[in-house]
């Protein structure tokens, strides 16, 4: 079950944070997203030569906490997508396809000529699309 998705800009400024459960505290989720930024920074600056390449977009499982798993995705413009989920068994392909759809929705939102890059994403269409993607994620 996806609990929260977030889009963070290239200067680590939050562009979009949306949580999908009322049970947990939204602030705690924000905190988790914020901590995961450090992990991403570390992964990007110290590349593991063996295995994953320096240029891979999908960063994979960033760090597991008690209840949650956090996945990361980095685009070419250093914009980061964070996914927080409570599922115990998460398939890699599911997460990758989620990020692919999410990336497409993000590109659509940014292509809006009235969107100022660096400001928060206020498009209702984007929020709607993200809700749809999250809704269809659990069904696969």
């Amino acid at each position: 079950m996806i609990v929260c998705v977030a889009v963070v800009g290239h200067q680590n400024n939050p562009l979009y944070i949306q949580s999908f459960t009322e049970a947990d505290d939204a602030l705690k989720l924000h905190h988790i997203v914020h901590c995961s930024l450090d992990v991403i920074e570390e992964r990007v600056n110290n590349p593991k030569k063996s295995g994953t390449t320096l240029n891979e977009a999908f960063l994979g499982l960033l760090y597991p906490t008690v209840n949650y798993k956090v996945y990361g995705y980095l685009t070419n413009t250093k914009v980061k997508f964070i996914l927080v989920t409570t599922d115990l068994d998460v398939r890699d392909t599911d997460v990758r396809s989620f990020f692919r759809k999410f990336h497409a929705a993000y590109v659509d939102a940014v292509s809006n000529p009235f969107h100022v890059p660096g400001k928060k994403i206020t498009s209702r269409t984007f929020a709607q699309t993200v809700s749809n993607i999250v809704g269809s994620y659990g069904l696969n």
Binding site: H10, L54, E56, A57, T75, N76, T77
Partner: protein
Amino acid sequence: MIGVGKMKQYSNVLDKPLSKGKQEVSLTAFAFLFSELVQYNQTQVDNIAELERRLEDAGYAVGSRVLELLCNREKGNRRETRLLGILSFVHSTVWKVLFGKVADSLEKGTEHEDEYMISEKELLVNRFISIPKDMGTFNCGAFVAGIVKGVLDNAGFPAVVTAHFVPIEGQQRPRTTILIKFAEEVLKREARLSQ
């Protein structure tokens, strides 16, 4: 502006194929829109430098969005970290999406280490524009320079990009060159990465 070309004429509307992903816009429609953009900016500024800057700003917005779009569409999404990588990306992929063909040539500047040039025999945006004598060295290619600047800036390679005319003997219209001058930190990072 994506894949600008001529519209195909079909005799029977039933013969038209179902539209696929590739979209083409008519060249004349774009030329009209661009001429209007230049005219609008011309009424608002007093000098040439300001007009160039405005066109460049307009191009910058296009460039940043084009980068996001291309990175999503390209298969095997690899983030460019090397200078040559991003330059060849701009030179082939970006040009292909915007103008329907790759740029004519990509050269490294001889005088300075941080200068690179992309040249084009005739920039698409300049095709229907002739500059009056009293405007001097103004080049509407500043719009394309802005696009390149947008792509480079958002990919993490800050640069100063300008457009220049280069007269070539034997040709009536001069060639256009986009001059890219990278910032200090890009060169330092490149030197560090090549070790």
